[in-house]
Protein backbone atom coordinates (compact mmCIF):
# COMPACT_ATOMS: atom_id res chain seq x y z
CA UNK A 1 0.00 0.00 0.00
CA UNK A 2 2.59 2.49 1.13
CA UNK A 3 6.36 2.21 1.17
CA UNK A 4 8.92 4.70 2.40
CA UNK A 5 12.67 4.33 2.10
CA UNK A 6 15.36 6.50 3.68
CA UNK A 7 13.23 9.64 3.81
CA UNK A 8 15.00 12.85 4.77
CA UNK A 9 13.59 16.29 5.34
CA UNK A 10 15.06 19.45 6.76
CA UNK A 11 13.70 22.95 7.18
CA UNK A 12 15.79 26.09 6.92
CA UNK A 13 15.72 28.10 10.13
CA UNK A 14 17.52 31.38 9.67
CA UNK A 15 21.02 30.55 8.45
CA UNK A 16 21.12 26.98 9.70
CA UNK A 17 18.68 24.20 8.92
CA UNK A 18 16.71 21.87 11.10
CA UNK A 19 16.98 18.22 10.18
CA UNK A 20 13.49 16.93 10.97
CA UNK A 21 13.39 13.49 9.37
CA UNK A 22 16.62 11.56 9.36
CA UNK A 23 16.10 8.52 7.23
CA UNK A 24 12.65 7.03 7.80
CA UNK A 25 11.81 3.54 6.59
CA UNK A 26 8.19 2.57 6.84
CA UNK A 27 5.80 0.33 5.03
CA UNK A 28 2.09 0.03 5.59
CA UNK A 29 -0.10 -2.76 4.24
CA UNK A 30 -3.68 -2.45 3.15
CA UNK A 31 -6.16 -2.60 6.01
CA UNK A 32 -3.69 -1.52 8.69
CA UNK A 33 -4.42 1.07 11.33
CA UNK A 34 -1.21 2.79 12.33
CA UNK A 35 -0.60 5.39 15.03
CA UNK A 36 2.45 7.59 14.65
CA UNK A 37 3.53 8.82 18.06
CA UNK A 38 6.14 11.12 19.36
CA UNK A 39 6.64 14.27 21.36
CA UNK A 40 6.28 17.59 19.60
CA UNK A 41 9.25 18.21 17.30
CA UNK A 42 9.79 14.52 16.73
CA UNK A 43 8.83 14.88 13.07
CA UNK A 44 5.54 13.00 13.18
CA UNK A 45 3.47 15.74 11.54
CA UNK A 46 6.11 16.33 8.88
CA UNK A 47 6.03 12.65 8.04
CA UNK A 48 2.24 12.73 7.74
CA UNK A 49 2.40 15.83 5.52
CA UNK A 50 4.85 14.15 3.18
CA UNK A 51 2.68 11.07 3.02
CA UNK A 52 -0.27 13.39 2.34
CA UNK A 53 1.63 15.08 -0.52
CA UNK A 54 1.20 18.38 1.24
CA UNK A 55 4.95 18.60 1.60
CA UNK A 56 7.86 17.10 -0.29
CA UNK A 57 10.83 15.13 1.01
CA UNK A 58 14.41 16.25 0.31
CA UNK A 59 15.57 12.75 -0.48
CA UNK A 60 14.37 9.20 -0.22
CA UNK A 61 11.69 7.15 -1.84
CA UNK A 62 7.94 7.24 -1.35
CA UNK A 63 5.70 4.82 -3.20
CA UNK A 64 1.93 5.01 -2.78
CA UNK A 65 -0.13 2.16 -4.19
CA UNK A 66 2.66 1.34 -6.63
CA UNK A 67 3.07 4.95 -7.77
CA UNK A 68 6.35 6.72 -6.99
CA UNK A 69 5.55 10.14 -5.53
CA UNK A 70 8.30 12.46 -6.64
CA UNK A 71 8.60 15.88 -8.27
CA UNK A 72 4.86 16.19 -8.70
CA UNK A 73 3.46 19.24 -10.39
CA UNK A 74 0.85 21.06 -8.34
CA UNK A 75 -1.84 19.87 -10.66
CA UNK A 76 -0.83 16.24 -10.45
CA UNK A 77 -0.47 16.41 -6.68
CA UNK A 78 -4.02 17.80 -6.55
CA UNK A 79 -5.33 14.89 -8.63
CA UNK A 80 -3.47 12.30 -6.50
CA UNK A 81 -4.63 13.86 -3.25
CA UNK A 82 -8.18 13.83 -4.50
CA UNK A 83 -8.01 10.24 -5.72
CA UNK A 84 -5.91 8.47 -3.08
CA UNK A 85 -6.14 10.39 0.15
CA UNK A 86 -8.67 11.52 2.70
CA UNK A 87 -7.65 14.03 5.35
CA UNK A 88 -8.92 14.43 8.88
CA UNK A 89 -7.50 17.39 10.79
CA UNK A 90 -7.33 18.32 14.42
CA UNK A 91 -9.20 21.58 13.79
CA UNK A 92 -11.65 19.94 11.35
CA UNK A 93 -10.87 22.45 8.60
CA UNK A 94 -14.38 22.71 7.29
CA UNK A 95 -15.27 25.68 5.09
CA UNK A 96 -17.25 27.88 7.44
CA UNK A 97 -19.73 29.34 4.97
CA UNK A 98 -20.70 25.98 3.52
CA UNK A 99 -23.17 23.67 5.23
CA UNK A 100 -22.31 20.10 6.18
CA UNK A 101 -23.59 18.62 2.95
CA UNK A 102 -21.68 21.10 0.79
CA UNK A 103 -18.51 20.48 2.76
CA UNK A 104 -18.78 16.75 2.27
CA UNK A 105 -19.52 17.22 -1.44
CA UNK A 106 -16.47 19.41 -2.07
CA UNK A 107 -13.93 16.64 -2.92
CA UNK A 108 -16.51 15.20 -5.31
CA UNK A 109 -16.84 18.62 -6.96
CA UNK A 110 -13.11 18.55 -7.60
CA UNK A 111 -13.51 15.11 -9.11
CA UNK A 112 -15.84 16.68 -11.64
CA UNK A 113 -18.90 14.81 -10.47
CA UNK A 114 -22.36 16.13 -11.41
CA UNK A 115 -24.15 18.17 -8.77
CA UNK A 116 -27.04 15.80 -8.24
CA UNK A 117 -24.86 12.72 -7.99
CA UNK A 118 -22.48 14.61 -5.74
CA UNK A 119 -25.21 15.56 -3.32
CA UNK A 120 -26.63 12.06 -3.20
CA UNK A 121 -23.24 10.63 -2.45
CA UNK A 122 -22.45 13.28 0.15
CA UNK A 123 -25.81 12.57 1.81
CA UNK A 124 -25.00 8.88 1.92
CA UNK A 125 -21.75 9.58 3.77
CA UNK A 126 -23.41 12.01 6.12
CA UNK A 127 -25.95 9.31 6.97
CA UNK A 128 -23.11 7.00 7.62
CA UNK A 129 -21.62 9.32 10.25
CA UNK A 130 -25.12 9.82 11.66
CA UNK A 131 -25.56 13.45 10.69
CA UNK A 132 -28.19 13.24 7.97
CA UNK A 133 -30.46 15.52 9.99
CA UNK A 134 -27.75 18.14 10.21
CA UNK A 135 -26.97 18.30 6.50
CA UNK A 136 -28.11 21.92 6.09
CA UNK A 137 -26.31 23.24 9.14
CA UNK A 138 -23.21 25.38 9.05
CA UNK A 139 -20.10 24.24 10.96
CA UNK A 140 -20.64 26.91 13.60
CA UNK A 141 -24.01 25.39 14.42
CA UNK A 142 -22.49 21.97 15.12
CA UNK A 143 -20.54 20.66 18.11
CA UNK A 144 -16.86 19.70 17.87
CA UNK A 145 -17.66 16.00 17.67
CA UNK A 146 -20.26 16.61 14.99
CA UNK A 147 -17.84 18.77 13.02
CA UNK A 148 -15.21 16.06 13.14
CA UNK A 149 -17.78 13.56 11.91
CA UNK A 150 -18.58 15.89 9.00
CA UNK A 151 -14.86 16.06 8.30
CA UNK A 152 -14.65 12.25 8.35
CA UNK A 153 -17.60 12.03 5.98
CA UNK A 154 -15.77 14.46 3.72
CA UNK A 155 -12.58 12.41 3.89
CA UNK A 156 -14.56 9.31 2.95
CA UNK A 157 -16.61 10.91 0.21
CA UNK A 158 -14.04 10.49 -2.53
CA UNK A 159 -13.53 6.85 -1.46
CA UNK A 160 -9.78 7.23 -0.84
CA UNK A 161 -7.35 4.34 -0.45
CA UNK A 162 -5.70 5.90 2.58
CA UNK A 163 -7.13 7.98 5.43
CA UNK A 164 -4.68 10.39 7.05
CA UNK A 165 -5.63 11.79 10.44
CA UNK A 166 -3.61 14.50 12.15
CA UNK A 167 -4.51 14.45 15.86
CA UNK A 168 -8.17 13.76 15.04
CA UNK A 169 -9.16 13.87 18.70
CA UNK A 170 -6.85 16.71 19.71
CA UNK A 171 -9.60 19.28 19.98
CA UNK A 172 -12.23 17.03 21.57
CA UNK A 173 -13.09 15.96 25.13
CA UNK A 174 -12.49 12.34 26.17
CA UNK A 175 -15.98 11.01 25.59
CA UNK A 176 -16.25 12.60 22.16
CA UNK A 177 -12.73 11.42 21.35
CA UNK A 178 -13.74 7.83 22.03
CA UNK A 179 -16.85 8.25 19.93
CA UNK A 180 -14.74 9.43 17.02
CA UNK A 181 -12.21 6.65 17.57
CA UNK A 182 -14.98 4.07 17.63
CA UNK A 183 -16.08 5.39 14.32
CA UNK A 184 -12.58 5.32 12.85
CA UNK A 185 -12.13 1.75 14.10
CA UNK A 186 -15.35 0.82 12.38
CA UNK A 187 -14.00 2.25 9.12
CA UNK A 188 -10.84 0.20 9.60
CA UNK A 189 -12.95 -2.90 10.21
CA UNK A 190 -14.56 -2.24 6.85
CA UNK A 191 -11.09 -2.37 5.31
CA UNK A 192 -9.89 1.25 5.12
CA UNK A 193 -6.19 1.82 5.68
CA UNK A 194 -5.70 4.46 8.35
CA UNK A 195 -2.65 6.43 9.38
CA UNK A 196 -2.99 8.67 12.40
CA UNK A 197 -0.74 11.05 14.23
CA UNK A 198 -1.39 11.35 17.95
CA UNK A 199 0.44 11.96 21.18
CA UNK A 200 -2.17 10.37 23.42
CA UNK A 201 -1.33 6.85 24.54
CA UNK A 202 -4.94 5.74 24.96
CA UNK A 203 -5.80 6.84 21.43
CA UNK A 204 -2.67 5.15 20.03
CA UNK A 205 -3.64 1.92 21.77
CA UNK A 206 -6.87 1.90 19.86
CA UNK A 207 -4.84 1.37 16.69
CA UNK A 208 -3.32 -1.92 15.58
CA UNK A 209 0.25 -0.74 15.26
CA UNK A 210 2.28 2.02 16.91
CA UNK A 211 5.26 3.72 15.31
CA UNK A 212 7.24 5.86 17.74
CA UNK A 213 9.35 8.70 16.45
CA UNK A 214 12.03 10.60 18.29
CA UNK A 215 14.27 13.27 16.82
CA UNK A 216 13.50 12.25 13.26
CA UNK A 217 14.13 8.51 13.50
CA UNK A 218 11.84 5.58 14.22
CA UNK A 219 12.54 4.38 17.76
CA UNK A 220 10.01 1.62 17.90
CA UNK A 221 7.56 -0.03 15.48
CA UNK A 222 5.30 -2.63 17.05
CA UNK A 223 1.95 -4.28 16.58
CA UNK A 224 -0.43 -3.88 19.52
CA UNK A 225 -3.58 -5.48 20.78
CA UNK A 226 -6.31 -3.10 19.67
CA UNK A 227 -8.38 -1.54 22.44
CA UNK A 228 -11.93 -1.19 21.20
CA UNK A 229 -13.36 2.27 21.77
CA UNK A 230 -17.02 1.19 21.90
CA UNK A 231 -16.68 -0.05 25.44
CA UNK A 232 -16.02 3.49 26.69
CA UNK A 233 -18.86 5.09 24.84
Amino acid sequence: MLKINQLHKSYPIGDSSLHVLKGIDLSVEEGEMVAIMGSSGSGKSTLLNIIGMLDEADSGEYILDGLPIKNLTEKKAAVYRNKFLGFIFQSFNLINYKNALENVALPLYYQGMKRKERQEKAMFHLEKVGLADWAKHLPKELSGGQNQRVAIARALAANPKLLLADEPTGALDTTTSYEIMAFIQQLNDEGKTILMVTHEEDIANMCKRIVRLRDGVIMEDKKVEQVRAEQYV
Binding site: E74, A78, V79, F87, L94, I95
Partner: protein, 409 residues
Protein backbone atom coordinates in the same frame (compact mmCIF):
# COMPACT_ATOMS: atom_id res chain seq x y z
CA UNK B 1 -13.98 26.57 -16.77
CA UNK B 2 -17.36 28.26 -17.01
CA UNK B 3 -19.46 25.51 -15.60
CA UNK B 4 -22.51 26.20 -13.48
CA UNK B 5 -20.90 24.79 -10.35
CA UNK B 6 -18.07 27.26 -10.51
CA UNK B 7 -20.55 30.12 -10.69
CA UNK B 8 -22.47 28.64 -7.80
CA UNK B 9 -19.25 28.49 -5.78
CA UNK B 10 -18.44 32.10 -6.60
CA UNK B 11 -21.88 33.48 -5.86
CA UNK B 12 -21.93 31.60 -2.60
CA UNK B 13 -18.62 33.15 -1.66
CA UNK B 14 -19.78 36.65 -2.64
CA UNK B 15 -23.06 36.20 -0.86
CA UNK B 16 -21.47 34.86 2.31
CA UNK B 17 -19.11 37.80 2.49
CA UNK B 18 -21.44 40.63 1.61
CA UNK B 19 -19.72 43.43 3.47
CA UNK B 20 -16.40 42.54 1.96
CA UNK B 21 -17.85 42.35 -1.55
CA UNK B 22 -19.74 45.60 -1.08
CA UNK B 23 -16.61 47.37 0.10
CA UNK B 24 -14.55 46.19 -2.82
CA UNK B 25 -17.33 47.04 -5.24
CA UNK B 26 -17.68 50.53 -3.82
CA UNK B 27 -14.33 51.82 -5.11
CA UNK B 28 -15.07 50.66 -8.60
CA UNK B 29 -18.63 51.93 -8.56
CA UNK B 30 -17.39 55.30 -7.43
CA UNK B 31 -14.66 55.43 -10.05
CA UNK B 32 -17.11 54.64 -12.84
CA UNK B 33 -19.65 57.07 -11.43
CA UNK B 34 -17.09 59.88 -11.57
CA UNK B 35 -16.01 58.82 -15.03
CA UNK B 36 -19.56 58.78 -16.38
CA UNK B 37 -20.34 62.21 -14.93
CA UNK B 38 -17.11 63.74 -16.24
CA UNK B 39 -17.67 62.22 -19.63
CA UNK B 40 -21.27 63.43 -19.70
CA UNK B 41 -20.19 66.97 -18.81
CA UNK B 42 -17.57 66.91 -21.56
CA UNK B 43 -20.24 65.79 -23.98
CA UNK B 44 -22.45 68.60 -22.77
CA UNK B 45 -19.73 71.18 -23.41
CA UNK B 46 -19.24 69.78 -26.90
CA UNK B 47 -22.95 70.00 -27.57
CA UNK B 48 -22.87 73.65 -26.53
CA UNK B 49 -20.10 74.36 -29.03
CA UNK B 50 -21.99 72.64 -31.76
CA UNK B 51 -25.16 74.49 -30.96
CA UNK B 52 -23.31 77.80 -31.22
CA UNK B 53 -22.92 77.06 -34.90
CA UNK B 54 -26.62 76.60 -35.39
CA UNK B 55 -28.26 74.01 -37.52
CA UNK B 56 -26.90 75.32 -40.79
CA UNK B 57 -24.89 72.69 -42.51
CA UNK B 58 -21.52 72.98 -40.79
CA UNK B 59 -19.68 72.18 -43.99
CA UNK B 60 -20.66 75.48 -45.66
CA UNK B 61 -18.56 77.78 -47.80
CA UNK B 62 -19.89 81.21 -48.79
CA UNK B 63 -18.19 83.14 -51.60
CA UNK B 64 -18.70 86.91 -51.99
CA UNK B 65 -17.44 89.15 -54.77
CA UNK B 66 -15.54 92.29 -53.76
CA UNK B 67 -13.39 94.99 -55.31
CA UNK B 68 -9.83 94.44 -56.56
CA UNK B 69 -7.07 95.92 -54.44
CA UNK B 70 -4.22 95.20 -56.85
CA UNK B 71 -3.66 95.98 -60.52
CA UNK B 72 -3.30 92.82 -62.57
CA UNK B 73 -2.91 92.01 -66.27
CA UNK B 74 -3.31 95.66 -67.18
CA UNK B 75 -6.56 95.98 -65.25
CA UNK B 76 -6.99 98.75 -62.73
CA UNK B 77 -7.30 98.69 -58.96
CA UNK B 78 -10.84 99.18 -57.63
CA UNK B 79 -12.57 97.07 -60.26
CA UNK B 80 -15.80 95.53 -59.01
CA UNK B 81 -16.18 91.80 -59.46
CA UNK B 82 -19.64 90.61 -60.46
CA UNK B 83 -20.66 86.91 -60.21
CA UNK B 84 -23.19 85.58 -62.71
CA UNK B 85 -25.12 82.34 -63.13
CA UNK B 86 -22.25 80.95 -65.15
CA UNK B 87 -19.92 80.97 -62.11
CA UNK B 88 -22.00 78.33 -60.38
CA UNK B 89 -21.62 76.08 -63.43
CA UNK B 90 -17.91 76.92 -63.46
CA UNK B 91 -17.42 75.66 -59.87
CA UNK B 92 -19.59 72.60 -60.47
CA UNK B 93 -17.60 71.69 -63.59
CA UNK B 94 -14.33 72.06 -61.85
CA UNK B 95 -15.03 70.56 -58.44
CA UNK B 96 -18.08 68.40 -58.96
CA UNK B 97 -16.82 65.53 -56.80
CA UNK B 98 -16.11 67.75 -53.82
CA UNK B 99 -19.31 69.78 -53.86
CA UNK B 100 -22.33 68.41 -52.04
CA UNK B 101 -24.87 71.21 -52.72
CA UNK B 102 -24.36 74.56 -54.39
CA UNK B 103 -26.61 77.53 -54.93
CA UNK B 104 -26.22 81.04 -56.25
CA UNK B 105 -28.11 83.66 -54.34
CA UNK B 106 -29.64 87.06 -54.94
CA UNK B 107 -30.62 89.04 -51.82
CA UNK B 108 -33.22 91.78 -51.82
CA UNK B 109 -35.26 93.53 -49.22
CA UNK B 110 -38.95 93.62 -50.04
CA UNK B 111 -42.18 94.96 -48.69
CA UNK B 112 -44.72 92.18 -48.63
CA UNK B 113 -48.43 92.70 -48.27
CA UNK B 114 -51.55 90.60 -48.05
CA UNK B 115 -55.03 92.08 -47.58
CA UNK B 116 -53.83 95.25 -45.93
CA UNK B 117 -51.21 93.59 -43.71
CA UNK B 118 -47.77 94.82 -44.63
CA UNK B 119 -44.18 94.21 -43.54
CA UNK B 120 -40.56 94.23 -44.70
CA UNK B 121 -38.76 90.97 -45.25
CA UNK B 122 -35.58 89.60 -46.71
CA UNK B 123 -36.05 88.08 -50.14
CA UNK B 124 -33.64 85.40 -51.29
CA UNK B 125 -33.49 84.21 -54.88
CA UNK B 126 -32.07 80.70 -54.64
CA UNK B 127 -31.72 77.25 -56.19
CA UNK B 128 -33.73 74.35 -54.68
CA UNK B 129 -30.52 72.98 -53.10
CA UNK B 130 -30.53 75.93 -50.70
CA UNK B 131 -33.05 74.14 -48.52
CA UNK B 132 -30.48 71.51 -47.60
CA UNK B 133 -27.74 74.05 -46.97
CA UNK B 134 -29.94 75.99 -44.56
CA UNK B 135 -31.49 72.85 -43.10
CA UNK B 136 -34.97 74.29 -43.54
CA UNK B 137 -37.94 72.14 -42.78
CA UNK B 138 -41.07 72.42 -44.88
CA UNK B 139 -44.06 72.88 -42.62
CA UNK B 140 -46.63 72.89 -45.38
CA UNK B 141 -46.62 72.76 -49.16
CA UNK B 142 -43.33 72.37 -50.99
CA UNK B 143 -39.99 74.03 -51.62
CA UNK B 144 -38.86 75.75 -54.81
CA UNK B 145 -38.05 73.23 -57.56
CA UNK B 146 -36.12 73.22 -60.83
CA UNK B 147 -39.34 73.50 -62.79
CA UNK B 148 -39.99 76.88 -61.12
CA UNK B 149 -36.50 77.99 -62.15
CA UNK B 150 -36.92 76.92 -65.78
CA UNK B 151 -40.25 78.76 -66.10
CA UNK B 152 -39.32 81.87 -64.09
CA UNK B 153 -42.40 80.94 -62.08
CA UNK B 154 -43.86 83.64 -59.87
CA UNK B 155 -43.94 81.45 -56.76
CA UNK B 156 -42.51 81.95 -53.28
CA UNK B 157 -41.88 79.93 -50.15
CA UNK B 158 -42.35 81.94 -46.98
CA UNK B 159 -41.02 81.54 -43.45
CA UNK B 160 -43.22 80.72 -40.49
CA UNK B 161 -42.96 84.28 -39.11
CA UNK B 162 -44.07 85.78 -42.42
CA UNK B 163 -47.11 83.53 -42.40
CA UNK B 164 -47.95 84.48 -38.83
CA UNK B 165 -47.46 88.22 -39.52
CA UNK B 166 -49.57 88.43 -42.62
CA UNK B 167 -52.04 85.56 -42.52
CA UNK B 168 -53.03 85.35 -38.82
CA UNK B 169 -53.12 81.59 -38.46
CA UNK B 170 -55.06 81.02 -41.66
CA UNK B 171 -53.13 78.93 -44.13
CA UNK B 172 -51.01 80.85 -46.62
CA UNK B 173 -50.63 78.04 -49.13
CA UNK B 174 -52.22 78.84 -52.50
CA UNK B 175 -52.75 82.53 -51.58
CA UNK B 176 -51.13 85.34 -53.51
CA UNK B 177 -48.71 87.64 -51.74
CA UNK B 178 -47.82 91.05 -53.06
CA UNK B 179 -44.08 91.79 -53.19
CA UNK B 180 -43.33 95.37 -54.34
CA UNK B 181 -46.35 95.41 -56.59
CA UNK B 182 -46.17 91.94 -58.10
CA UNK B 183 -48.35 88.98 -57.05
CA UNK B 184 -46.65 85.69 -56.21
CA UNK B 185 -48.30 82.43 -55.40
CA UNK B 186 -47.28 80.93 -52.05
CA UNK B 187 -46.39 77.24 -52.56
CA UNK B 188 -44.82 76.46 -49.20
CA UNK B 189 -44.17 77.51 -45.61
CA UNK B 190 -40.94 76.55 -43.89
CA UNK B 191 -39.47 76.57 -40.41
CA UNK B 192 -35.87 76.98 -39.34
CA UNK B 193 -34.87 76.22 -35.77
CA UNK B 194 -32.41 79.09 -35.77
CA UNK B 195 -35.39 81.25 -34.93
CA UNK B 196 -37.33 84.32 -35.97
CA UNK B 197 -34.75 86.12 -38.09
CA UNK B 198 -34.26 83.05 -40.28
CA UNK B 199 -38.01 82.59 -40.50
CA UNK B 200 -38.68 86.17 -41.61
CA UNK B 201 -37.44 85.24 -45.05
CA UNK B 202 -39.09 84.72 -48.42
CA UNK B 203 -37.53 82.35 -50.94
CA UNK B 204 -38.04 82.77 -54.67
CA UNK B 205 -36.59 80.92 -57.67
CA UNK B 206 -33.35 82.74 -58.48
CA UNK B 207 -34.26 83.14 -62.15
CA UNK B 208 -37.50 84.88 -61.23
CA UNK B 209 -35.67 87.24 -58.90
CA UNK B 210 -33.10 88.05 -61.57
CA UNK B 211 -35.84 88.63 -64.15
CA UNK B 212 -37.92 90.88 -61.91
CA UNK B 213 -35.09 92.80 -60.29
CA UNK B 214 -32.94 93.93 -63.22
CA UNK B 215 -33.51 91.37 -65.97
CA UNK B 216 -29.91 90.15 -65.81
CA UNK B 217 -28.06 87.05 -64.62
CA UNK B 218 -26.18 88.73 -61.78
CA UNK B 219 -25.54 86.83 -58.57
CA UNK B 220 -24.81 88.39 -55.18
CA UNK B 221 -23.06 85.44 -53.63
CA UNK B 222 -22.60 81.70 -53.88
CA UNK B 223 -23.19 79.27 -51.08
CA UNK B 224 -22.06 75.65 -51.19
CA UNK B 225 -21.48 72.71 -48.92
CA UNK B 226 -18.49 70.46 -49.41
CA UNK B 227 -18.43 66.69 -49.22
CA UNK B 228 -18.90 66.04 -45.47
CA UNK B 229 -16.31 63.26 -45.51
CA UNK B 230 -13.56 65.83 -46.01
CA UNK B 231 -11.48 66.70 -42.99
CA UNK B 232 -11.35 70.35 -41.96
CA UNK B 233 -7.84 70.64 -43.40
CA UNK B 234 -8.96 69.23 -46.74
CA UNK B 235 -11.96 71.52 -46.70
CA UNK B 236 -9.79 74.57 -46.14
CA UNK B 237 -7.53 73.56 -49.01
CA UNK B 238 -10.63 73.02 -51.13
CA UNK B 239 -11.90 76.50 -50.27
CA UNK B 240 -8.58 78.01 -51.29
CA UNK B 241 -8.54 76.21 -54.62
CA UNK B 242 -12.05 77.51 -55.41
CA UNK B 243 -10.88 80.99 -54.51
CA UNK B 244 -7.78 80.68 -56.71
CA UNK B 245 -9.62 79.40 -59.75
CA UNK B 246 -12.18 82.19 -59.44
CA UNK B 247 -9.33 84.71 -59.14
CA UNK B 248 -7.84 83.33 -62.35
CA UNK B 249 -11.22 83.44 -64.07
CA UNK B 250 -11.77 87.10 -63.16
CA UNK B 251 -8.15 88.09 -63.91
CA UNK B 252 -7.44 88.95 -60.29
CA UNK B 253 -3.99 88.69 -58.76
CA UNK B 254 -3.66 85.60 -56.56
CA UNK B 255 -2.37 87.78 -53.75
CA UNK B 256 -5.44 90.02 -53.90
CA UNK B 257 -7.37 89.47 -50.67
CA UNK B 258 -10.32 91.74 -51.42
CA UNK B 259 -11.59 90.77 -54.86
CA UNK B 260 -13.01 87.36 -53.96
CA UNK B 261 -13.89 86.77 -50.36
CA UNK B 262 -14.81 83.57 -48.67
CA UNK B 263 -16.32 82.45 -45.44
CA UNK B 264 -15.39 78.82 -44.81
CA UNK B 265 -17.03 76.95 -41.94
CA UNK B 266 -14.11 74.57 -41.91
CA UNK B 267 -12.03 77.18 -40.08
CA UNK B 268 -14.45 77.27 -37.19
CA UNK B 269 -14.98 73.55 -37.37
CA UNK B 270 -11.25 73.05 -37.12
CA UNK B 271 -11.03 75.15 -33.98
CA UNK B 272 -13.94 73.31 -32.43
CA UNK B 273 -12.31 70.03 -33.42
CA UNK B 274 -9.07 71.00 -31.68
CA UNK B 275 -10.98 72.11 -28.61
CA UNK B 276 -13.07 68.94 -28.59
CA UNK B 277 -10.04 66.75 -29.04
CA UNK B 278 -8.16 68.33 -26.17
CA UNK B 279 -11.25 68.20 -23.99
CA UNK B 280 -11.76 64.52 -24.78
CA UNK B 281 -8.10 63.94 -24.07
CA UNK B 282 -8.30 65.56 -20.64
CA UNK B 283 -11.45 63.64 -19.80
CA UNK B 284 -9.85 60.40 -20.91
CA UNK B 285 -6.82 61.02 -18.72
CA UNK B 286 -8.99 61.82 -15.71
CA UNK B 287 -11.26 58.89 -16.46
CA UNK B 288 -8.35 56.55 -16.90
CA UNK B 289 -6.84 57.79 -13.65
CA UNK B 290 -10.02 57.13 -11.68
CA UNK B 291 -10.36 53.74 -13.31
CA UNK B 292 -6.79 52.81 -12.37
CA UNK B 293 -7.46 53.98 -8.82
CA UNK B 294 -10.50 51.70 -8.86
CA UNK B 295 -8.47 48.78 -10.15
CA UNK B 296 -5.78 49.30 -7.54
CA UNK B 297 -8.48 49.51 -4.89
CA UNK B 298 -10.14 46.28 -5.90
CA UNK B 299 -6.79 44.58 -6.36
CA UNK B 300 -5.87 45.57 -2.82
CA UNK B 301 -9.08 44.22 -1.43
CA UNK B 302 -8.71 41.01 -3.44
CA UNK B 303 -5.23 40.53 -1.95
CA UNK B 304 -6.77 41.00 1.46
CA UNK B 305 -9.52 38.54 0.55
CA UNK B 306 -6.95 35.96 -0.53
CA UNK B 307 -5.13 36.42 2.76
CA UNK B 308 -8.35 36.04 4.66
CA UNK B 309 -9.25 32.93 2.69
CA UNK B 310 -5.81 31.33 2.89
CA UNK B 311 -7.07 28.56 5.09
CA UNK B 312 -10.07 27.88 2.90
CA UNK B 313 -7.87 27.75 -0.18
CA UNK B 314 -5.53 25.38 1.63
CA UNK B 315 -8.46 23.11 2.48
CA UNK B 316 -9.65 23.17 -1.11
CA UNK B 317 -6.18 22.27 -2.31
CA UNK B 318 -5.90 19.42 0.18
CA UNK B 319 -9.21 18.12 -1.14
CA UNK B 320 -7.90 18.13 -4.70
CA UNK B 321 -8.45 21.64 -6.10
CA UNK B 322 -6.06 22.33 -8.96
CA UNK B 323 -4.18 25.66 -9.02
CA UNK B 324 -6.24 26.55 -12.05
CA UNK B 325 -9.56 26.14 -10.27
CA UNK B 326 -8.28 28.39 -7.47
CA UNK B 327 -7.28 31.04 -10.02
CA UNK B 328 -10.74 30.80 -11.62
CA UNK B 329 -12.53 31.31 -8.33
CA UNK B 330 -10.62 34.42 -7.35
CA UNK B 331 -10.42 35.86 -10.85
CA UNK B 332 -14.08 35.43 -11.68
CA UNK B 333 -15.10 36.75 -8.29
CA UNK B 334 -13.04 39.85 -9.00
CA UNK B 335 -14.53 40.21 -12.48
CA UNK B 336 -18.07 39.82 -11.22
CA UNK B 337 -17.64 42.33 -8.41
CA UNK B 338 -15.95 44.80 -10.76
CA UNK B 339 -18.51 44.38 -13.51
CA UNK B 340 -21.58 44.59 -11.29
CA UNK B 341 -20.25 47.44 -9.17
CA UNK B 342 -19.02 49.28 -12.24
CA UNK B 343 -22.34 48.89 -13.91
CA UNK B 344 -24.16 50.22 -10.88
CA UNK B 345 -21.77 53.18 -10.87
CA UNK B 346 -22.47 53.73 -14.55
CA UNK B 347 -26.23 53.59 -14.03
CA UNK B 348 -26.08 56.05 -11.15
CA UNK B 349 -23.83 58.31 -13.21
CA UNK B 350 -26.21 58.27 -16.16
CA UNK B 351 -29.12 58.80 -13.78
CA UNK B 352 -27.46 61.83 -12.19
CA UNK B 353 -26.76 63.27 -15.63
CA UNK B 354 -30.38 62.77 -16.66
CA UNK B 355 -31.58 64.38 -13.48
CA UNK B 356 -29.23 67.33 -13.25
CA UNK B 357 -28.60 67.71 -16.98
CA UNK B 358 -31.39 70.15 -17.86
CA UNK B 359 -30.42 72.60 -15.11
CA UNK B 360 -26.83 72.83 -16.32
CA UNK B 361 -27.69 74.72 -19.48
CA UNK B 362 -26.60 78.06 -18.02
CA UNK B 363 -23.14 76.60 -17.32
CA UNK B 364 -22.56 75.95 -21.03
CA UNK B 365 -23.47 72.30 -20.65
CA UNK B 366 -26.14 71.14 -23.07
CA UNK B 367 -27.67 67.66 -22.96
CA UNK B 368 -24.90 65.95 -20.99
CA UNK B 369 -25.03 62.20 -21.47
CA UNK B 370 -23.09 59.14 -22.39
CA UNK B 371 -23.53 57.28 -25.63
CA UNK B 372 -24.44 53.61 -25.94
CA UNK B 373 -21.06 52.84 -27.44
CA UNK B 374 -19.44 54.31 -24.35
CA UNK B 375 -21.56 52.08 -22.14
CA UNK B 376 -20.53 49.01 -24.13
CA UNK B 377 -16.91 50.18 -24.12
CA UNK B 378 -17.05 50.78 -20.38
CA UNK B 379 -18.47 47.30 -19.79
CA UNK B 380 -15.64 45.70 -21.73
CA UNK B 381 -13.14 47.90 -19.90
CA UNK B 382 -14.66 46.83 -16.59
CA UNK B 383 -14.27 43.17 -17.38
CA UNK B 384 -10.68 43.75 -18.42
CA UNK B 385 -10.15 45.85 -15.29
CA UNK B 386 -11.58 43.08 -13.13
CA UNK B 387 -9.24 40.60 -14.75
CA UNK B 388 -6.24 42.83 -14.14
CA UNK B 389 -7.33 43.54 -10.58
CA UNK B 390 -7.90 39.87 -9.83
CA UNK B 391 -4.94 38.36 -11.61
CA UNK B 392 -2.17 39.00 -9.10
CA UNK B 393 -4.24 38.02 -6.06
CA UNK B 394 -5.47 34.92 -7.89
CA UNK B 395 -1.94 33.94 -8.81
CA UNK B 396 -0.95 34.46 -5.22
CA UNK B 397 -3.83 32.31 -4.04
CA UNK B 398 -2.92 29.48 -6.39
CA UNK B 399 0.58 29.43 -4.95
CA UNK B 400 -0.60 28.98 -1.39
CA UNK B 401 0.86 25.81 0.03
CA UNK B 402 -1.82 23.78 1.77
CA UNK B 403 0.59 22.80 4.49
CA UNK B 404 1.18 26.43 5.38
CA UNK B 405 -2.50 27.25 5.17
CA UNK B 406 -3.55 24.33 7.34
CA UNK B 407 -1.00 24.81 10.09
CA UNK B 408 -2.87 25.05 13.34
CA UNK B 409 -3.07 28.61 14.49
Amino acid sequence: MFDLDLWREIFQSINMNRTRSLLSGFTVAFAILLFAILFGIANGLQNTFQEAFGTDANNSIVIFPGTTSKAHKGLQVGRRIQFTNEDREFILDKFEDKVQFITSKVNRSVTASFKGEKNNYELRGVYPEYMFIENNVIKEGRYINHNDLDNNAKVVVIGRTVEEDLFFKETAIGKYINLSGIQYKIVGVFTDDEGDSEESVIYMPITTTQFVYGNNDFVDLMHLTYNPEMSSDEAMAFGNSIKNSLKDKFDVARSDQRAIRMWNMAEGTKQVDIMTTSLTFIILIIGFGTLIAGIVGISNIMIFIVKERTKEIGIRKALGASPRSIVSIILIESIIITAIAGYIGLLIGVGVLELVGPSLKEYFITNPGVSNSLVVGATITLIIAGTIAGYLPAKKASQIKPIVALRND
